[in-house]
């Protein structure tokens, strides 16, 4: 798991302190709503039909038990005892009060979390295969790349005012659980015939009112070229994307209207310039991130009890067949906990449920959880 370094901590704390002052100025009337709105949106705070809503990022869907406990605490202390886990690996609080938001952001920062770029026309929370780092079918763990993208896209000045929101997803497995073809940019970790690691880059997918399947922009992008290539894509979109109509502003429309060939040519043209601007620091960082996402210290234990229960207990067998997925360590399994009970609101979880999941992960899963659709 990635732990914040001093820079991450200082950056996050600065944003909390800034927003605390901005909220104070809004409450005392120094800032109008028109002035405040872009500031609150940069910090994930919406004013919806009935109340404020705070969207908190769960980067690449990975949570520690201590972070889940903190999300539960926030639900109890500032909200109505529950939160809503979203399709794109966020949690939303639906009833926070404006004056409490700075304290909530501080409580999140205390466990290395934030709500930065969870709304607004910027690069949103980077999502990944929820089985990343654990799945048996994985070619490579996508989380180091996802963390690299998180750091690259956070507060990137060139991409802070895009024509529309921009969503990136990455998977390291051939079974596309990250739904990469329904994202503005989808990345699939692949290897070429020579065995070199790289990415298939997909662009222009999306859901919403105009669902579109993404198109392949580059079948194989060498690993070292990722950031300069993505910057090139963003630059082409930033120039070519429509700003006259918000419903035509997503890159899926840009690709559809201009054609993938034209987009590809423009991206490749920019890429020549962008690649020269990268000095290799991104690859050094990626190497460090790979170390941070090393697997936990797996333990070995007898499987007799499991095998007996599977053979003799139909209810347990049914649970296993439905909820377990193959792990890359064959003495382990991935257990999916559904929070979509019939008759209840899908993906809402009470603070009690959050704490229970955190505790189960502490006992059985090296204190790690994943959030997904």
């Amino acid at each position: 798991m990635y732990n914040y370094n001093q820079f991450d901590k200082a950056f996050n704390q600065t944003r909390v302190d800034q927003f605390r002052q901005q909220v104070a100025r809004r409450i005392d009337g120094s800032l109008t709503e028109d002035e405040f709105k872009p500031l609150r949106l940069m910090n994930g705070l919406y004013l919806q039909l009935h109340a404020y809503m705070l969207r908190v990022a769960i980067p690449y869907g990975t949570l520690r038990s201590a972070q889940m406990d903190q999300l539960a605490m926030i639900a109890d202390k500032y909200d109505r005892g529950y939160g809503h886990f979203t399709t794109r690996q966020n949690i939303q609080y639906n009833w926070p009060k404006l004056q409490d938001i700075p304290d909530i952001l501080q409580d999140l920062a205390d466990v290395e979390m934030h709500a930065i770029q969870t709304s607004g026309n910027c690069i949103r929370n980077v999502t990944a295969d929820h089985f990343a780092g654990a799945s048996a079918d994985e070619i490579e763990d996508p989380r180091p790349t996802a963390e690299l993208l998180r750091q690259w896209s956070t507060d990137h000045p060139e991409f802070a005012f895009l024509g529309r929101k921009f969503k990136i997803a990455i998977t390291g497995a051939p079974n596309d659980r990250a739904v990469t073809k329904a994202h503005d940019i989808g990345l699939r970790m692949v290897r070429n015939d020579a065995g070199d690691a790289g990415y298939e880059v997909i662009v222009g997918g999306g859901l919403g009112r105009t669902p579109m399947i993404g198109k392949v922009l580059r079948a194989f992008l060498p690993r070292a070229d990722l950031l300069p290539y993505l910057e090139s894509v963003m630059q082409v979109y930033n120039v070519l994307g429509r700003r006259d109509n918000k419903y035509k502003a997503r890159i899926k429309i840009t690709v559809h209207e201009n054609g993938i060939e034209k987009i590809r040519d423009l991206v490749e043209e920019r890429f020549v310039i962008q690649r020269a601007a990268f000095g290799g620091f991104d690859q050094e960082l990626l190497q460090k991130l790979e170390t941070a996402f090393a697997p936990p210290a797996f333990i070995s234990a007898p499987l007799d009890g499991y095998e007996t229960a599977y053979k003799t207990d139909p209810a347990f067998r049914s649970f296993v067949d439905t909820n377990l997925s193959a792990h890359k360590n064959d003495e382990y399994a991935i257990i999916s906990i559904s929070i979509k009970k019939h008759g209840q609101t899908p993906c809402d979880a009470t603070s009690y449920q959050m704490r229970t999941m955190a505790e189960l992960a502490r006992k059985y899963s090296h204190a790690e959880l994943r959030i997904s659709h």
């Binding site: 809004r26 409450i27 005392d28 009337g29 109008t32 709503e33 004013l47 919806q48 039909l49 009935h50 109340a51 404020y52 109505r80 639906n94 009060k97 404006l98 004056q99 609101t345």
Partner: protein
Amino acid sequence: MARAFTPKVLTANRLLEGDVVYLGADGEWVLYHSDAVLFTDEELANTALAKAAAQPDFLVGPYLANAETQNGHPAPTHFREEFRTRGPSNYAHGKQESIDV
């Protein structure tokens, strides 16, 4: 030709809580649509709107919303405004907890 003025209530969200509020008959901001004052005079409605817009430290986004009289109280005429009178529709955890709507 300008459209004829239709009856309206004045509504906004409260700055601190985000609650939907309405201007009441006595000039206070109230939580429930049925307690709102129904403007039938355009000039009075616009004056009240301007006054509300001058309270940015208390209100967010005031506007006039169409309404009609039902059972002696103002009632919304648009589904969006009807949603705003209650709360989320999935289960009772908004205003509908305390009112029978």
